[in-house]
């Protein structure tokens, strides 16, 4: 699959390397991080801590579930004591006093967090071009974007700098960069992974997502991290499936799969993507799955719906970045001047663009026409998909219309970049789980991702199906 040397799954790594596995993993990871510095996947590397922790793990008799798993953390997920900046100037100097719940659970399970991954500022972007730290680059061609907003995470996984990376997915920000970089990108059901400690972009759409080179590692992470968190009122449920067991048990199951017609017939669909879809429909059929075409007539409305809801929520979620309590504060003589200068100087253009849009759709006189209407449309989508999932186990569609685009392509037409998300926003709007699998290549040798979705809380089914495709 990948043209880069990457880690096998954790359980295999531990088998192959024995007791010293964590140490050799850290050393290899650090070496690769250095080797691929120019791709700008990492903002910060926690070298000494990682090595110390690896030593400690080596000396421990009992192995914890994620014993020495090397993890990259996107710069919008809190790690206690570490800088947390959302790749933004406005949070320069800020160190989080607490860790995200997911991070805590991973650390308790023996994972080694090796550093902060680059991303789009406040997770707003589809190419990791809008970062205070400069763009991240696609490992298959450094003039192309790695995707966004979790670009750094995807690059780190693709080039074996880490075993697994935590990203965040609001409109596709884990699945799309996974597709562009040839790795697996998984967005859980909304509520399955706690959002406490994830810098909020759009509260009703955000989820922490996982990027990896194999499904087993994703399942291992989920069995440790998933489940109710009292600090997140939107997190559910209290009992989660044993993801690891589920993969082993259900791998041979046959499913009824619906291919979304409007996606394979989409006007922006790259010819190589169309070929890849046809090829895999055929493969899956031969494997014994039942494949049918289904319609999703709402497809054209989804990006506008998503943009309205996401920017509205974001405009409020980003109000706290005002220079008063933490982060960057501009020099000023009056309160108003301080507010204006801090946010003007602290936020990048794309963030400002989205705050303006969100403020507008919530403003009096426009609230009903935009925000209320978008919420109603969302309800329609949810009902429509619920019906589909009564008949189909899985839905299948491309992750993106085309492979990675060149850095700077959308510089003059930023709003057009939003259309790249057309296939990924569905799962965020509906709250359903979705996964991008690196199943094909373009004629130019660029990765192509195919996406599968299941109904809410059917994550174990989705993961076990995904695992079955990689034998």
């Amino acid at each position: 699959m990948s043209k880069f040397k990457t880690f096998p799954s954790l359980w295999r790594w531990l088998e192959e390397r024995g007791p010293k596995a964590p140490l050799s993993a850290v050393n290899i990871a650090l070496k690769r991080i250095e080797q691929f510095r120019d791709l700008n996947a990492f903002i910060d590397v926690w070298k000494e801590e990682a090595q110390q922790l690896a030593q400690q793990l080596v000396s421990e008799k009992r192995k914890k579930p994620l014993h020495g798993l090397i993890v990259g953390v996107k710069d919008n997920i809190a790690v206690a004591g570490k800088p947390l900046t959302a790749a933004s100037k406005i949070l320069q100097g800020y160190k989080s006093p607490f860790s995200a719940t997911v991070v805590e659970r991973l650390q308790e399970a023996g994972a080694i967090l090796i550093g902060r991954n680059n991303c789009d500022e406040f997770a707003m972007g589809s190419g990791n071009e809008y970062s205070y730290y400069g763009p991240a680059r696609n490992p298959y061609n450094p003039d192309l974007v790695p995707g966004g907003s979790s670009g750094g995470s995807a690059v780190a996984v693709a080039t074996g700098q880490v075993m697994v990376a935590l990203g965040s997915d609001t409109g596709g920000s884990v699945r799309q960069p996974a597709a562009y970089c040839g790795v697996i990108g998984y967005k859980p059901t909304y509520g399955l992974l706690s959002r406490y400690g994830l810098i909020a972009f759009a509260s009703s759409l955000d989820q922490i997502g996982i990027l990896a080179n194999n499904v087993e590692d994703i399942a291992a992470v989920m069995s440790v991290a998933a489940g109710k968190d009292p600090m997140d009122a939107t997190s559910t449920p209290s009992k989660t499936p044993n993801f690891v067991e589920e993969i082993i048990d259900s791998r041979q199951r046959k499913f009824k799969i619906g291919v979304i017609t409007e996606t394979v017939e989409h006007k922006d669909l790259h010819p190589d993507m169309a070929i890849a879809m046809e090829k895999w429909i055929s493969i899956l059929s031969k494997k014994g799955h039942e494949i049918e075409y289904v319609s999703l007539p709402l497809l054209d409305y989804l990006v506008p719906m998503y943009q309205i809801i996401a920017t509205a929520e974001a405009s409020a979620n980003l109000s706290r970045y005002d220079g008063v309590r933490y982060g960057y504060r501009a020099e000023a003589d009056t309160l108003e001047e301080m507010y204006i200068k801090t946010r003007t100087e602290g936020f990048g253009m794309e963030v400002k663009r989205r705050i303006m849009m969100g403020t507008f759709v919530l403003s009096s006189g426009f609230y009903d026409a935009y925000y209320m209407r978008a919420l109603k449309a969302r309800r329609l989508l949810v009902n429509y998909l619920n019906n589909l999932f009564k008949q189909y186990d899985l839905l299948m569609l491309p992750t993106t219309p085309a492979p990675a685009f060149p850095i700077g392509s959308f510089a003059q037409r930023p709003v057009e970049m939003y259309l790249v998300d057309v296939f990924t926003v569905i799962a965020n709007l509906a709250g359903t789980p979705a996964i991008s699998l690196p199943l094909a290549w373009s004629k130019d040798g660029l990765p192509l991702g195919i996406q599968f979705m299941s109904k809410a809380f059917d994550d174990a089914k989705l993961l076990s199906f995904s695992a079955s495709l990689f034998n």
Partner: protein, 482 residues
């Protein structure tokens, strides 16, 4: 009424709830603590933090809703109210815009001799802001975030209040209610009870009021009344000189006793309310509702009706009982043991009240239980011991050792041993013999001396005699002397 001008007043009251933790974050709150020591990443709006509903807050809000006879929403959600200010950490306040926990209730309050009903339009759950302190540093405003996130209930009345006195009395009734329900300290000086007022005047002969003026920053009952008095006068003068009252927000200067304009046109704030996505809609369970209905203590207006109509107590007695609702609770408890309201009241308004005042304590801290007081009332009514003796000697002894049984104590102190008629005569005779001059004065007209003779006799009898018998005997012997 001010002349023929009728004031129309509505109040917006903020009640700070005394829950153990803040509304959406786990830390506690205490008035007067060191600045910025009662904070948490959630209430400081640190990146990545989320609000979580405090069930106790919902319970307290529901209790208030029940007490106000309001329509309770079984399913409600929260809203974000967006604006920028340094003491508002998130840049939005979590409140309830379209689904307040209850609407359309009412509350009775007593003004003079009558009860008046004020409609409550809505009660909503929200959170407090931090405090901005402008007058400590010459160049900077200092921020204290201890108060940020503390739970508040905002109570909005209909404009049913028609005078500053009514406004004050109503606010006092609200304070009494929230303290009685145990949900708030209702303390204006400490900010756990706050009030803004909206006031307009109806000109003589008309039926619609002029423009409404909002008056803020009223931090005591007195200031509320004074501000409204000033505002009524100010508005009246404007109208009478042919002008119009502007719709505006005014503050109150307590020192000068005047209201002054605050922000004007800027008031047209677009708060861009939308439903809070971080907390799913809350479902009030039927069990919680039923449970709270059972826990509801009776309210002042209900008690008034019971005392004056059912129990036929006097207005003065009813007022005494409902002034401090703990006293009515005590009273009701005592009634369960001995169903004689007038007798119990005699004790409560007499020796018990005196004892509370003397020791500067509340009935909550009073050492004797309602059952003991009931017992004492019974004892006095049955004349096992006379009321004077019971309310003085017996009462005092019990206060010293509340664990004692009154009946045993009576035996121990031989309080029930009544002197017989002949011992009474002997004692009275000896007393009269000691005061020959006084007896002369008595016969000459100083009838007040009768008290002296009776008192001395009772002393000698160590109180163990029926005072009426003693008086009879004294009179008998005095008349004999003549």
């Amino acid at each position: 009424m001010v002349g023929d001008w009728k004031p129309v007043i509505g109040l917006e009251i903020h009640i700070q709830l005394k829950t153990r933790s803040k509304n959406f974050s786990p830390e506690g709150y205490e008035y007067g603590a060191e600045p910025n020591t009662l904070t948490h990443p959630v209430s400081l709006a640190y990146p990545g933090t989320l609000p979580v509903v405090n069930k106790k807050v919902v319970e307290y809000a529901t209790l208030l809703a029940l007490a106000l006879n309001a329509e309770i929403r079984k399913t409600f959600h929260f809203s974000r109210k967006n604006y920028f200010y340094p003491d508002l950490p998130k840049g939005y306040q979590i409140t309830q815009y379209d689904t307040p926990i209850c609407e359309n209730g009412y509350l009775h309050f007593k003004i003079g001799k009558t009860w008046k009903k004020v409609r409550i339009l809505r009660v909503q759950i929200e959170e407090d802001t931090g405090k901005s302190i402008h007058d400590i540093d010459p160049f900077y405003t200092l921020l204290d975030f201890n108060r940020a996130g503390v739970p508040l209930l905002e109570l909005v009345t209909a404009p049913d209040i028609n005078s500053p006195e009514e406004a004050q009395a109503f606010l006092v009734a609200v304070r009494q209610l929230v303290r009685h329900l145990g949900i708030s300290d209702g303390n204006m000086e400490e900010g756990s009870l706050r009030c803004d007022a909206n006031i307009s005047l109806i000109p003589p002969g008309e039926d619609k009021p002029g423009n409404r003026v909002e008056v803020k920053n009223l931090n005591s009952f007195r200031f509320l009344r004074k501000a409204l008095e000033y505002e009524i006068e100010r508005q009246r003068q404007i109208y009478e000189s042919g002008g119009t009252v502007e719709r505006e927000t005014r503050g109150f200067d307590a020192v000068k006793g005047v209201t002054f304009p605050m922000r004007t046109k800027e008031e047209l704030h677009d708060y861009r309310y939308f439903p809070e996505p971080d907390m799913p809609p809350y479902e009030l369970s039927q069990e919680l509702l039923e449970g709270l209905k059972h826990k509801m203590p009776p309210l002042p207006f209900q008690l008034w009706k019971r005392y004056t109509e059912e129990l036929n107590l006097s207005e003065k007695e009813a007022e005494f009982l409902i002034e401090d609702l703990d006293i009515s609770r005590f009273f009701e408890e005592a009634l369960k043991s001995y169903n004689s309201p007038k007798s119990i009241l005699k004790w409560l308004m007499g020796p018990v009240r005196a004892s509370l005042n003397q020791n500067s304590i509340s009935i909550e801290q009073f050492p004797l239980s309602p059952q003991i007081i009931a017992k004492l009332a019974q004892i006095a009514d049955k004349e096992i011991v006379h009321f004077t003796v019971a309310s003085q000697k017996l009462f005092r002894e019990l206060l010293k050792d509340p664990s004692k049984d009154p009946e045993k104590l009576i035996k121990e102190l031989s309080l029930d041993q009544k002197a017989d008629d002949s011992s009474i005569e002997d004692v009275v005779r000896s007393v009269l013999q000691a005061f020959p001059e006084k007896i002369e004065q008595y016969h000459k007209g100083k009838t007040g001396l009768l008290g002296l003779f009776i008192g001395e006799s009772m002393k000698k009898l160590k109180g163990k005699a029926d005072p009426r018998k003693v008086k009879e005997t004294v009179l008998k012997l005095l008349n004999k002397e003549q």
